[in-house]
Amino acid sequence: MIPALGLVAGIVLGLLLQPAVPVWAQPYLPIAVVAALDAVFGAVRALLDGIFDDKVFVVSFLSNVFVAAFIVYLGDQLGVGSQLSTGVVVVLGIRIFSNAAAIRRHLFRA
């Protein structure tokens, strides 16, 4: 309940403050957001499985975000940034889909 309120609070805060993304973060923020969404979906799935753990969620969230951003950074340095970010998005998208499918099975029994 508290995390959901936190998400809503963050969205409201963003809408109110209307932040501008700094230039150095522009390549990494979208990937980081997708990775964080992946962590959130995994957390919801774990919650429904009854194995949710706050600590695991925090660690997975941060590591997800940093690893994703680091991969893209590495790709940018190697000259394959756009391809690598595409790959990261694809992988995270697949994970989000499988987590969403598990959540769906929990919620709808189908």
């Binding site: 963050g10 963003g14 706050d54 695991v56 997975s60 997800n64």
Partner: protein
Amino acid sequence: MSEDAAAPARPPSARGSRIHWGGRGSAILGALLLVALGFALVAQLRQNSAQGLSALRQSDLVRILDDVGGRRDRLAAEASDLQAQQRALAGGATGSQAAIHAGPAPLGGLGRVGGTAAATGPGTEVFVTDPQSAVRSAQVLDLVQELRDAGAEAIQIGSVRVVASTWFADAAGGVSVDGTILRPPYTVLAIGDSQTMATALEIPGGVVASLPDRAAATVAAREQVEVTALHAVRAPRYARPATTARPSPS
């Protein structure tokens, strides 16, 4: 990554033994992370909707340029296809025009067969005398059929052109041909091979031989026969040209 969240594999004993996270502290931390996530989400959405090409990487720009180039090539190919199609259709239209303009020559031939054009040529003149009007329409029809079988290309009886739809009926004092009452003597003009027609008409037991006793027929070959009577063609009420519109044969 989130597999840890989905299925923590480490045993509960190991959990929390190394570092002690306050249960409440990590919950608050998670909530803060979600605050950051919502914030970043909104920021990125706003950024993405606001930014144009200027914020893109060089490689992205090159890819977009490539996409645009490929799309332009495809559209150009499609345009050239359509232009070729248009030229083909225009060529077909002029072809139809040419066919219409070239029409009168074949139409003349059709007109001679269909009775809408005067015809001249070598042929036969059949003169049937019948002072007592004994000749019936059936015998006139026989005469016409015999001429047709002998290859007559244009036939005229009296002032009536004989065409495919011509009908014969008995009438008082004569024969009705296509509604025109002809009275004896009858003059039948036929264009074709006069020798063949004469043979066909005068064959023993043929048309001439089977005329009534009081009637007689003379078959004369002519160098030049003029079939000038015309058959009036009514505009068809139901039939329409199946392909392109062409002028009526009349």
